[in-house]
């Protein structure tokens, strides 16, 4: 696309998009931010409680798996996620 055509195309396209908003609903700008219905698909997310372990000054008596010899069999929900018709598989991991 040559330069002037590009400029015209972009400007026209943006003007059309902006105009559609102006006519559809004269929302204040701050309401536009994050307005899920406008664009894309908004996914309902986790809440802030999952904000991470962070740094702690405590120790733990939970035991680490290190030293246990075990094999991981397919587990978790990956087995129900369909990948091109195949069930998700984890390979055995040697401890």
């Amino acid at each position: 696309m040559n330069r002037s055509t590009l400029t015209l195309t972009l400007a026209g396209s943006l003007a059309t998009a902006l105009a559609s908003v102006a006519f559809a609903a004269p929302l204040p700008a701050e309401k536009m931010v994050g307005n899920e219905k406008c664009y894309g698909i908004a996914l309902k997310g986790q809440n802030d409680c999952a904000a991470g372990a962070g740094t702690t000054c405590a120790g733990t008596s939970t035991m680490d798996y290190q030293g246990n010899s075990w094999k991981a069999v397919p587990a978790g929900t990956c087995t129900s996620m369909n990948v091109d018709g195949h069930k998700g598989m984890l390979e055995p991991m040697k401890g």
């Binding site: 962070g54 740094t55 120790g59 733990t60 008596s61």
Partner: protein
């Protein structure tokens, strides 16, 4: 309501609680009667977001204790200047009533080791820690409280008693001390020492804050009792008794309930704080009674 941050430059002699993200909303909505809140400094070193928004709102209502977990004051290598700068930024922003760190190390060439590791108590390490406390207080522009550690092993090289080690650091640097009563119990049981004797020898006049927490218990390879500073339960009864013994010597002091793992609902934390508050009030009454009888 509790003292606002513009008032006293010290924590009140009340029970305080660790502030956890899952309780931000509860605290702001209910404004519970809690003496102060404590946060781990490193969890507020992100650039922005909800943690800062909540901490700002909560420090408008409650005194704040800023507790560092990653400065590695006991490290052989130099202090991390970038980390000192981050701490200074937090202190300037939130003006906490108290700032504390640990007598421990946690960084090495391989990176941050994410645990509070023990030090041999020798003249060499004493000199190192004194230098680091001096540097920290200089960089932060304020006094630091240094906390006694929970330890699981001893060093054959150690020649200085832990209480003497801490007292000497405080004397040389002017820093205060944070007395973790649970840590005293953990280390005393682990090293076959008497916890009450440790408290009796501790320079309580330098203590700016007390910590209480729950330990877990297991055994070592010889079948000896091994306590772990786990912060995942209520304070154990022997630690409550040791706290009582401490208060009788020290008088009422700001007392934090630490519960960092398997964090319960806020009401459970408040019940723990209420128990400590009742003991603090009883000690204050006892002292008043003594003064009145003496007069």
């Amino acid at each position: 309501m509790t003292a606002s941050k513009t008032q006293a430059y010290a924590l009140p002699a009340r029970a305080g609680l660790g502030l956890k993200p899952e309780h931000y909303e509860t605290v702001l909505a209910n404004r519970p009667d809690v003496g102060f809140f404590e946060v781990h400094a490193e969890n507020y070193m992100g650039a922005g977001g909800p943690p800062h928004r909540y901490l700002e709102a909560i420090t408008e209502l409650y005194p704040l204790s800023l507790h560092g977990v990653g400065l590695s004051i006991g490290a052989a290598h130099e202090l991390d200047k970038a980390h000192l700068k981050r701490l200074r930024g937090l202190i300037d922003r939130y003006r906490p009533q108290s700032f504390s760190e640990h007598l421990a190390w946690s960084t090495h060439d391989t990176g941050f080791l994410n645990d509070l590791l023990p030090l041999p108590y020798t003249p060499e390490t004493l000199a190192r820690v004194i230098d680091h406390v001096d540097e920290t207080q200089q960089a932060l522009g304020r006094r630091l409280l240094l906390e006694n550690p929970s330890t699981y092993v001893l060093f054959a090289d150690s020649t200085i008693d832990e209480v003497d080690f801490l007292a000497t650091i405080a004397e040389r640097t002017g820093c205060g001390l944070l007395l973790d009563v649970n840590n005293v119990m953990v280390s005393a049981v682990n090293h076959r020492l008497d916890a009450a004797t440790y408290i009796d020898r501790f320079p309580v006049e330098l203590v700016g804050e007390i910590h209480l927490a729950g330990y877990d218990e297991t055994v070592d390879d010889a079948g000896d009792r091994l306590l772990i500073d786990a912060h995942g339960t209520a304070v154990k009864s022997d630690v409550v008794a040791l706290y009582q013994h401490t208060l009788a010597r020290s008088g009422p002091l700001p007392t934090l309930i630490e519960w960092d793992n398997d964090v319960p609902d806020f009401a459970t934390l408040q019940a723990e704080a209420a128990r400590a508050d009742a003991m603090l009030a009883a000690e204050a009454l006892r002292r008043n009674g003594q003064r009145i009888r003496a007069a």
